[in-house]
């Protein structure tokens, strides 16, 4: 719940992504597109990442951001979008998971 009716420009991931783009940086945008069970961040949440691995925003409240950043740097290089899935249910696919027991699907794409 927000008490402000205006965007928090200094912290808003999509505003930051646009500013990075204007600065000539390569940027990837990660978006939570599906959640199951108890997931820390709602569908639609964003993490934005630049080619150096700097990031803003959140897709999981800290549990899987490291892995998303690594994937995002690859996506910036290749330009090919990826769908990532995290959760306790598929620990063979990923070493990182959500301690809360939920599962999330994160779409990672390059800006431009």
């Amino acid at each position: 719940m927000s008490d402000s009716i205006y965007l928090d420009e200094a912290r808003d991931p999509l505003i930051i992504a646009e500013a990075w783009m204007k600065d000539g940086k390569d940027v990837a945008i990660a978006t939570v597109v599906e959640t199951w069970g108890s997931a820390p961040r709602p569908v639609g949440s964003h993490l934005v990442i630049d080619a150096d691995g700097n990031f803003h925003g959140s897709v999981s409240g800290g549990c899987v951001e490291g892995a998303v950043v690594t994937e995002a740097v690859d996506v910036i290089g290749s330009g090919k979008a990826r769908m990532l899935e995290f959760g306790v249910a598929d620990e063979t696919a990923w070493q990182v998971g959500l301690s809360c027991g939920g599962r999330i699907k994160v779409y990672v794409e390059r800006l431009g």
């Binding site: 009716i5 992504a17 978006t31 779409y107 794409e109």
Partner: protein, 234 residues
């Protein structure tokens, strides 16, 4: 994501207008849909639903999977009148997720003592609304009983297409108000959008109960935008 889509989306969000980013998860192509844009078929129906609920999610349509990221402006409540009802309404509205501001030029009413932690404007609605205009994601409740204060704000709310417009007063009081608003240039359709007597009919008696009724009617109006629901804004 298309850089132009991102720029467009951010411009809409800054202007407090609703927009949905539609991404084809198969090929990654995306586009911005604004509220009121016509989109055909199952995808159009899903988009309309996302505008109402504000919920994002994946949908299957036309044999493809689309992700709809709904960006709705934060709805808010503008109250004209720093009265008893507003004192109860301020904390309730904040808890319900509708940040509230109060305008009342009577500086004896609009005091921080009576309204701790509330955005309070001890000024005429004309002056405040000039600086921060109303919009379609704002609800306006006029509760001063004083035409000098309420009328301008009500006309402004109708012109800005506020998603909810309510005015305190009996049917008799409201009949006179309707005449004044028509004289100010409001149309009959506009005036018909005003909820008066204000609030859902829950038999509210005390100021705090009236506040509950106003908040409930605001939520109903917000969640039924674009739908023909009894008791909600048309």
């Amino acid at each position: 994501m298309d850089p132009y889509a991102l720029k467009t989306l951010n411009a809409e969000r800054r202007a407090r207008r609703a927009a949905i980013l539609v991404t084809d998860l198969g090929d990654g192509r995306d586009r911005i849909v604004r509220e009121g844009d016509q989109v055909a078929g199952d995808l159009g129906a899903a988009i309309a639903k996302a505008f109402r609920s504000g919920s994002s999610g994946a949908v299957e349509a036309e044999g493809r999977t689309f992700f709809l990221n709904a960006h709705l402006p934060q709805p808010r409540l503008m109250v004209i009148g720093a009265v008893h009802i507003s004192q109860a309404l301020a904390p309730m509205a904040r808890i319900a997720g509708y940040p509230l501001e109060i305008i009342d030029p009577r500086s004896a009413f609009a005091t921080p003592d009576r309204f701790p932690d509330v955005a309070l404007h001890a000024d005429w609605p004309q002056d405040v609304l000039d600086r921060q205009p109303l919009d379609s994601y704002t609800a306006l409740a006029a509760v001063t009983h004083d035409p000098k204060i309420d009328d301008f704000a009500l006309k402004a709310a109708l012109d800005a297409n506020c998603f909810y417009v309510g005015a305190l007063g009996s049917r008799k009081t409201h009949a006179k108000r309707v005449e004044r608003l028509l004289a100010l240039g409001a149309s009959a359709d506009q005036v018909a959008r005003i909820h008066a007597p204000i609030g859902l009919d829950i038999g509210a008696a005390s100021p705090a109960e009236i506040a509950v009724a106003i908040l409930a009617q605001t939520i109903l109006a917000f969640r039924s935008r674009g739908l023909d629901v009894k008791g909600a804004a048309a």
